[in-house]
Symmetry: C2
Subunit: 332 residues, 2 copies
């Protein structure tokens, strides 16, 4: 493998000069530069990034933890992060925790030795107990997409999940719905709170018995929960699901139960996912600004760290947005 030294000898200069032409930080006489570049091409020289990292102290790589990549939300987030990283000339080291605390711990420990310049951790309950591992980390850490129990010690860029539920609720209220049910998965309690708040504003209470749980946000879970909701309260005119896949299941359940959507039943989801677009009718949903979240989080991470005299730990909350499509309509 050819090194900078080899190039230098070939070009009849020292390796410092080669380094100068590569980095462009120091002016080099044009004729010298030409000789060096020729030598680089002839030899097929490629700088060794590891050596450079040891000398400069940065790897131009940032780590990203996500629970999974199979889900549209996190897949989008990963690509958004990668885009912003590319603008900054950084690479992406990816770790999916797969809802496995032990696995998360191992990966966290494995990265904590400056093989990355910074670390972005997308909301994951599995990781929360292991965050103290980062106490000796030599790089900045920011948290994003954190929905509950947001740790106070780290900067956070996340979404106003409470408001996302509120938007769904307000939409249904504006359509005149009073008898509603909620399909929720356990991790989404904040969304349910927001939803309830939209009704509480008008003095309407969404009782606990109107909230039907699905163990996780799955299509099948949505079908089952919707059937349960409709059976428990046949007079229900609208359903709010804390995630689109749950809502997609609810649409199937509605059909099975002989309820037409939106005529006989309105359904609103959350996350504005491909599953919602794919449903018939297309799902009204609440979009979560993941790309904006990625941008802000990475910029926080890559911001001049020397100017670390910042007094407060940054906490940013991004606003979701209602997307009205075909699954919601006025209450009968």
């Amino acid at each position: 493998m050819v090194t900078m030294q080899d190039v230098a000898e070939r070009a009849g200069v020292t390796k410092q000069t080669v380094s100068n032409v590569i980095s462009g930080r120091v002016a080099v006489r044009p004729s010298t530069e030409a000789r060096v570049r020729a030598a680089i091409d002839e030899l097929g020289y490629l700088p060794n990034l590891v050596a450079r990292s040891l000398a400069t102290g940065n790897t131009r790589t940032v780590g990203l933890f996500v629970p999974t990549v199979v889900t549209a939300f996190y897949a989008d987030l990963v690509e958004a992060v990668e885009d912003v990283l590319e603008e900054h000339g950084h690479h992406l080291l990816l770790c999916t925790t797969r809802r496995d605390g032990e696995r998360a711990r191992r990966h966290l420990a494995g990265l904590t030795s400056r093989s990355v310049d910074a670390l972005l951790i997308a909301g994951d309950q599995d990781l929360i107990d292991h965050l103290p591992l980062l106490s000796h980390a030599r790089f900045p850490v920011v948290l994003c997409a954190w929905e509950t129990d947001v740790p106070e010690r780290y900067p956070v860029v996340t979404i106003d999940y409470d408001h996302s539920g509120y938007l769904a609720g307000r939409h249904l209220r504006e359509l005149g719905h009073e008898r509603v049910a909620v399909l929720a998965s356990p991790a989404h309690s904040v969304r349910v709170e927001g939803f309830r708040r939209a009704f509480a504003v008008d003095g309407v209470t969404v009782p606990d018995r109107a909230v039907h749980m699905a163990p996780e946000p799955s299509f099948r879970g949505g079908i089952a929960a919707a059937h349960a909701a409709l059976a428990a309260a046949p007079g229900t005119t609208a359903l709010f699901a804390t995630h689109d896949v749950l809502a997609a299941g609810a649409l199937v359940a509605a059909r099975e139960a002989g309820r037409s959507v939106p005529r006989g039943l309105s359904v609103v989801g959350l996350d504005d996912s491909p599953e919602g677009l794919l449903s018939r009718p297309a799902l009204t949903s609440v979009a979560l600004p993941k790309r904006e979240m990625a941008r802000q989080a990475i910029e926080l991470l890559l911001r001049d760290r020397t100017a670390s005299g910042s007094p407060a730990i940054p906490r940013r909350l991004l606003r979701p947005e209602l997307v009205v499509r075909d699954s919601t309509g006025p209450a009968a």
Copy 2:
């Protein structure tokens, strides 16, 4: 930041001894080891992975190129790769090319300087022109999930895509279908060939006019292509879509056209994706062995490279499998 030297001083030994206790490669007297470990804990010492990489010549990181991560196929592949990597104690550097040749080129160039130990490239036409950039790479490269124009120069672990189409065709043949149409996207010509072969075996020809193209494998494209197919040949009893999302669209089109599935029309997809499971009726499909592909590809990559006296460039073809669900039935 505390270094190995700091630990050594604290423990009253030299840094070589610290290195020995950390690596465990050389036996260390128990009492010495205890002192060293205590010093490590007290100081919160974390080895610098970059320095280690420079000294050892390996980064314990492998790069993976995929077109995107938003699609279930590649998302699964990424997680499968990560799983195998973890078994080997390696990290994952991820690059999505996003069907953008220029972007792919930049990333490829950026990695070619030994910031990874090995590189796995999942089929991507955007990358194919830039593969020569790898000629000076200091690490092994293998290709996977490559569907057409498989480069000869590199080891390949891929799926028998032709056979996947064949399995779909044979299934339909066995159900007695003769008048069939194909919904295909341009990248999937191999799958169409295989499908045709299953019919050709019985002397039945699937004519070009029965093949309806969708610009890409999208839900909307599937709806449009299916409508076109049904309009062009109302007597069609079965549809083969080269991807499940196309087939999911076809299911919607069938409903819109008043054709019941599978009674009045059979539909078979390919890829055994979540979209297919989510469809009503659940889609008959052909599963592609992505996890097995990931395993074999990574093991090829990480295999003892010193034993590189292997004569032939490895080429492995994995077998897909038919998954019969509810969208196919006997021809009327």
